[in-house]
């Protein structure tokens, strides 16, 4: 197997080879580091590559596995972190001048778990500043570029994570999702990304944006890889009270068919919008057809208040993010990039009364969205229903933030996964759909997504 073949291995393929001692973690890590060195000058996925520590960790993994101390599917697997997640001794910059020299003192909860399981950090990944969204233009590092075509947006904010995985620089990256920031770039870059249930994965050691809607989740090329990664990072962490007292089921199981599964489809959001992209719509409909052919019982539901759900989610984000950033906005507003500063300033004009009303409305909207799962195990809908715009078309890019179905599930905390559904015949850019599950039922989300992926292996196409 040559280096190019190694870089194309999925996490689970590499894991099996490593467990069987047919693949050296040192060789695998070196092949990926070489690819990063070759490709990242154009793609800018990485803010920092931790080559030295990666090789040390790879050597340690290799020695452990040779000595019969294999720790599990992540042992010897290289990964990378969105640069708002702490890894002790390595800077966490959040793509901001404010934190350019901020060296993490401790590991994030998810990093601690990955270290315990022998995974190997390759580096820290580009993000929109403080995970705020909006394609950074005047921040310390260049914005990551879409490996399918650098003229098109990656979306954000976990843009570096999506680019690194799609470009075969790493089989696994962690991202964060406060208003769609895992799912949007995963969709635009043709990979699998999950926002797990709120409370499933620790956020300790992760720079917050809006703590009641922040989620950490894995980004991978396949559904199976995603499930393995989530299994590795999920679980209670006393440092993040939202995760306490949660059962830790096996989310990695698969089924040969989908009999007994009840799937609700929210078609109205894209079918009743004449401007929806026909190729995105066709991809979602094909996913629904495959699930039905697999034995799922499909019925239709309506998301009537999508625009209001998205607006409220943004309002909550503005209030919570301002509470975090207010001291810096007062003392060092010039240190922020243009887009992040303007977005964060919105919270200065919202009051405690606005917050109280917003929280009350959140309860009402959450109840409305939970009712979609009455009689359904899963909800299928769009992630976004616009074609991926070019970086140069800022107006079209901003419109995609209004026309999407990601934000409601940050507000409600439901697990939500995006997966590729093909490629645009016009632009060659990836298409995607979203599968949403009941709270703490990621296993069923993976069951449906994995079934579709086995019949439609879009991940085998490389940029």
């Amino acid at each position: 197997m040559n280096d190019a073949d190694l870089c194309r291995l999925s996490l689970s393929e590499a894991s099996k080879l490593i467990q069987g001692q047919d693949l050296s973690p040192v060789r695998y890590t070196q092949a990926l580091l070489d690819r990063i060195a070759r490709e990242d000058g154009q793609l800018h996925a990485f803010i920092r590559v931790t080559a030295d520590t990666a090789m040390d960790e790879a050597l340690a993994a290799e020695q452990d596995i040779r000595a019969g101390r294999w720790r599990g599917p992540l042992h010897g697997i290289p990964y990378a972190l969105k640069d708002i997640i702490d890894y002790a001794g390595v800077p966490t910059t959040a793509q901001s001048r404010l934190l350019e020299k901020n060296v993490a003192q401790d590991d994030a909860g998810v990093v601690r778990k990955l270290k315990e399981q022998g995974a190997i950090l390759l580096g820290k990944l580009g993000t929109d500043e403080f995970a705020c969204g909006g394609h950074p233009i005047d921040c310390p590092w260049p914005a990551p570029r879409n490996p399918w075509n650098p003229e098109y947006v990656t979306a954000g904010s976990s843009s570096g994570s999506a680019v690194a995985v799609a470009a075969r620089m790493v089989p696994l990256a962690l991202g964060t999702d406060t208003n769609g920031s895992i799912r949007n770039p995963a969709a635009r870059c043709g990979i699998v990304g999950i926002k797990p249930t709120y409370g499933r994965v620790s956020r300790h050691g992760v720079i917050p944006l809006a703590p009641t809607m922040d989620h950490v989740g894995p980004m991978t090329r396949t559904v199976q890889d995603n499930a393995l990664a989530l299994q590795a990072i999920m679980g209670s962490d006393p440092a993040d009270p939202a995760t306490m007292n949660r059962a830790e089921p096996d989310v990695t199981g698969y089924a040969a068919d989908l009999r007994g599964l009840r799937v609700a489809v929210a078609r109205n959001v894209y079918m009743e919008d004449p401007a929806a992209d026909a190729e995105q719509v066709a991809g979602i409909e094909e996913l629904v057809r495959v699930l039905a052919d697999g034995g799922a019982v499909v019925h239709e539901v309506r998301i009537a208040g999508l625009r209001k759900y998205n607006l409220l989610s943004r309002l909550l984000l503005s209030i919570e993010a301002y509470a975090i950033h207010e001291p810096w906005l007062r003392s060092d507003p010039q240190a922020y990039g243009t887009r992040c500063r303007e977005r964060l300033l919105q919270g200065a004009f919202l009051t405690a009364a606005d917050h109280a009303r917003a929280q009350e409305l959140r309860r009402q909207y959450t109840a409305e969205l939970c009712s979609l799962f009455s009689g359904a195990d899963l909800l299928v809908t769009a992630s976004g229903y616009d074609a991926t715009p070019k970086v140069s078309d800022r107006e079209a890019f901003l419109k995609t933030y209004e026309r999407q179905v990601r934000m409601p599930f940050n507000m409600t905390g439901h697990p939500a996964l995006v997966l590729p559904t093909g490629f645009s015949a016009r632009t060659g850019m990836p298409l995607a759909a979203q599968i949403v599950g009941r709270h703490f039922d990621e296993a069923t989300v993976y069951r449906a997504a994995g079934f579709y992926e086995r019949l439609n292996p879009w991940h085998e196409t490389c940029p």
Binding site: L311, E326, E342, F349, D354
Partner: protein, 78 residues
Amino acid sequence: MSNTVPPHAHGPLVAVPEDSLPAWAIQVACGAGLGKAAREYPEQVVRAAASARDTLKALQDDMPGTARAARPTWSLSK
């Protein structure tokens, strides 16, 4: 900057008329300790206020819940 801004009551954001919004936003920002941002990035401060106002306005019909909730029968004026 504050010398050039006419005084405005800090009323609810959604009630601020369009033509008063720039001065209102700068004044509120200064009152919130964001004087540096208001001086160096006044246009961004105003756009941020406009964006927050537009979001509140769009949700206004659904948001009076707390305001409409039953009030206690006692009052401090008794």
